[in-house]
Amino acid sequence: MSGHATQGDHDATNAYRSLADSISHDDPGWAFGTGVEDVQAEITSPVPDGVDPAELAEYCLMLGDDALICSQRLAEWVSNAPELEEEVALANIALDLLGQARVLLARAGHVEGAGRDEDALAYLRPEPGFRNVALAELPDGLDFGRAIARLLVFSAWRLALLNRLLDSRDPVVAAVAAKGVKELAYHRDYAARWTLRLGDGTAESHRRVQAALDAVWPHVGELFRTSDVERALVEAGVAVDPAELRGEVDEVLDEVLARATLTRPTAPPAGTIGGRGGREGLHTEHLGHVLAELQSLARQHPGATW
């Protein structure tokens, strides 16, 4: 805001001014981006032999967008959670996922070679360019049961996925997986314990978390559907075939649901459109709302610095 800036020039006590002074960069940061020059040593690693750069970029977007969009949904709980501890927990989980997303998007941009950095990919990409699964973008309407049900499924699936990506031939995917496994283990435990408390709690908490599971369940099938890009990269030793994760994830979910006295929903999976879904850039109407909030400031003030 120009008014603030003018006042700040004359007011040594202006908090924003002193903040800017204290970090005194040679180069001002983009107001809506990460704000600092970030030299990530691994991101510039060469594309492994025999791997198609366009496919690798696409795969990094898939893994990165799942994390980015889920992180944005979790961040909606900041100032809205039922207790401060849960707000801090959800924000912490969102931050871990955002960190994973930043590296993966930066890798996607580098491999793509079209001059887009992590910020351009996050803030300026149109909706059909996103490659996340629908589960990440679903609204939870600030219903804590919905947040927990989605996080349980998402973290159980992503943990199984990253755990098998530890040996990916892409060094960035492997490095994100190695850090992510440790983080996701905490996320999954958090969601699982809350599922137990809610499912095996009062009649009302049981009813609501069961309804939440029923609501997210149609989007579970997509998590295990193999896209063409993934299929090609499995061959190349970069990706994991998500279909292979099903048994492991089901085992975890069944154990949690049984302990929580909840019923595994039987709803059929939401369909695809001509075989295409989130991995091909076809999204539910909810992603547009997520992106409107995520991108609006950056789009209204292109290139703004502070």
């Binding site: 970090i23 960069h25 990460t34 704000g35 600092v36 970030d38 030299v39 990530q40 040593a41 691994e42 501890e85 849960e86 801090v88 927990a89 924000a91 912490n92 989980i93 931050l95 871990d96 996922l97 955002l98 960190g99 994973q100 930043r102 590296v103 943990l159 199984a160 755990n163 060094p171 960035v172 492997a174 490095a175 994100v176 190695a178 850090k179 992510g180 496994v181 440790k182 983080e183 996701l184 283990a185 905490y186 999954r188 435990d189 958090y190 699982a192 314990r193 137990l196 492991e248 975890v252 154990e255 949690v256 302990r259």
Partner: protein
């Protein structure tokens, strides 16, 4: 834990000593060295390259660390500084030095247990809080309980001592 120091011995060691004094912005009782996030300090022709690793993927402190390293090296006469971050191998709380563990306890933060190498295969689910004893850093009582696994910083959980009733932070093992 610095794993590699290269370049002219005097310059690199001097620069390394400067980096070693930079403190963690969120747990300022620890230096970056105590925390085990400094991978290497290289000096070549007056330019310093410092390689650090984040504790958690989204750790917001990494940017403050980078600024502080630049500022301290600049004060010490190294104007050309590049701070690089590497993710692999992933940081572990096992890399916190013995001095670091002691300083945490002295400042009322329960240090992490040793994690050791991670077993291969699926990650086991833990549906109840692990029964490992975390002693209260204030009164030493083993009777403490976990309030939340996610505390005020990415690396800490929040606990409470049932003997002295004080809440405290615990650096959770990863």
């Amino acid at each position: 834990m610095v794993t590699g120091v290269t370049g002219p011995v005097g310059g690199a060691l001097a620069a390394r000593e400067v980096v070693a004094t930079v403190v963690d912005p969120e747990m300022p009782m620890l230096t970056l060295d105590d925390l085990g996030v400094v991978r290497s300090v290289d000096v070549e022709g007056g330019a310093v390259t410092v390689t650090i690793t984040p504790t958690y993927s989204g750790c917001p402190a990494i940017e403050a660390m980078r600024d502080d390293i630049r500022a301290r090296l600049s004060e010490a006469g190294y104007p050309r500084v590049e701070v690089r971050t590497v993710l692999s191998p992933a940081w572990s709380t096992d890399w916190i030095s013995a001095t670091g563990l002691r300083k945490l306890a002295e400042h009322g933060i329960a240090p992490p247990d040793r994690v050791g190498p991670r077993p291969t295969g699926p990650v086991p689910l833990t549906l109840t809080a692990p029964s490992t004893v975390v002693r209260c850093p204030r009164c030493g009582s083993p009777a403490t309980e976990e309030l939340s696994r996610f505390g005020p910083t990415a690396c800490t959980a929040l606990r409470r001592c049932t003997a002295c009733r004080e809440p405290f932070e615990h650096v959770k093992g990863i």
